[in-house]
Amino acid sequence: MKFEVRDITKHYGQQPVLRGTGLSLKARRCLSILGPSGCGKSTLLKVLAGLETAESGRILFDGQSLEKVPARRRGLVYLSQEPLLFPYLNVFENISFGLRLQKRPAQEIRQRTGELIEALGLEGMSEKMPAALSGGQRQRVAFGRALIIHPRVLLLDEPFGALDAQTRSEMQKLFMQISSREGITSLFVTHDAREALVVGHQWAFMEKGRLRQYETTAAFMADPATGLPQEMRFWQGLQEEQKQNQDPI
């Protein structure tokens, strides 16, 4: 099973946003896409989800073409930076939203939602309304709402970008843990190089609408465009400086 994107192009007016963008992703893996703001990452995810249309290109899941398939039938769930919960539904109802759309039996909805609530660490919060949750809890609910329908590919658009450092780190761990348990295939967009390294199994860098995918972790880390070599040099330099300062005179 494989998810492939080939030569996607899109313009906003005269401005090119995606220029022959392509990628390849193996099943049950996470492809981290690193890129600065405005490079076209979010537009790419929206095009893949079917929320925006591309001028050309192919989207293939297991060889099946998805370009003409309406967004609701693609099975590619888009998760934005803002949790975007339905404010009039409680935690349980938000998470089970997709199952209710599918008109699943009440017993199945109760069981699956209950299990996911537990896995997400949201026990005892089923009845709470979104307004009563913290940012991290809301993002967990949004994550659960996406996971419960077993999407073909989960499209995460800087999902932890609005969280504080500690919550962000917790959410990254939770994401990896649940993704691995559920066997989720995902595209994870971020502008944080460290986050890209932590959550991904495969890596890509996007700039001015063009995407470059790397064969190995080393290749990704060695590319100066990602900013990673510079950052590593900075930390190494700092470490050496500290060592020298600690040496007895």
């Binding site: 989800a49 079917g50 609701r72 934005s80 919960l85 339905f86 404010p87 009039y88 997709g98 759309l101």
Partner: protein, 259 residues
């Protein structure tokens, strides 16, 4: 903690609001106060005249209720749907410009303009004609009311539902409708009030053949019959107060979803 001055100001404000109601209650229930009696005498004569007596206002009350409920529901629904159509680019910007037209004129002048066409079409003097004429004002009001509702956030919520597998009907009933409920209730309440208290348009288009409670109150006032006017006036404010109480959570608090 409020200061003494703030409490006094609040009480004074409450008193100013309450005083007209007290006067109306006195006029409706104690119309006679002959000298040298210390207290006015109770009388339910006005009420008995209004309820089935010679000045029966029950048909006018029912007309008003049917008109206001229908106008409120149709204008709110129409305004909600057509503002969405505008947001989706199915209507041109001309729709927004035209929506302001009825408010450039006073309702009476607008009614005089409409009257010619209504008479020509044979709609004047009928309940349906008055309902349609009131929609000419309330529908643009509702259309403009919902302009601010269709934000980027609503679009994002729709998109979230779509990628989770929702079809258009499910997006409407499971996302838009519940999300818009506070705005829908507020708009319904306001259009209900416009219709309920409407005088000029109703009298001109109704040609005196469609009695409403607002018209009855004005008639009693012009006849210098304060007891009947006061009793009918109390009837006039009862349904809006009931609606306000029924939807107090939405109408009296800032019940807007911000999550």
């Amino acid at each position: 903690m409020k200061s003494l001055g703030a409490y006094l100001a609040l009480w004074l404000q409450g008193l100013l609001y309450a005083l007209p109601f007290v006067v109306v209650l006195l006029l409706a229930g104690m119309p006679y106060w002959p000298f040298p009696q210390l207290w006015p005498g109770w009388s339910f004569q006005a009420w008995s005249l209004l309820w089935g007596g010679s000045d029966n206002v029950v048909p006018a009350f029912l007309h008003s209720l049917v008109l206001a409920l229908s106008v409120g529901a149709l204008a709110t629904l129409g305004g909600f749907l057509s503002s969405r159509a505008l947001q989706q680019g199915q209507l041109g910007g001309w729709a927004r410009r035209w929506a302001y037209f009825p408010f450039l004129l006073t309702p009476v002048i607008y009614a005089l303009l409409l009257q010619y066409f209504f008479t020509w079409l044979g709609w004047g003097g009928s309940l349906g004609g008055v309902l349609l004429a009131q929609l000419f004002i309330t529908y643009p009001f509702a259309f403009l009311f919902f302009q601010g509702f269709w934000t980027r956030r609503v679009q994002d919520l729709e998109n979230a539902a779509i990628t989770l597998g929702a079809h258009q009907g499910q997006v409407f009933w499971r996302v838009l409708w519940p999300y818009a409920r506070p705005a829908l209730v507020t708009c319904f309440f306001q259009t209900f009030l416009i219709s309920w208290f409407e005088y000029g348009l109703t009298s001109v288009i109704g040609l005196g053949k469609v009695p409403t409670l607002a018209l009855a109150v004005f008639q009693y006032l012009s006849e210098a019959n304060p007891a009947l006017a006061a009793a009918a006036g109390l009837l006039l404010i009862a349904p809006p107060l009931f609606l306000l109480w029924l939807n107090k959570r939405i109408l009296l608090t800032a019940a807007v979803y911000e999550v």
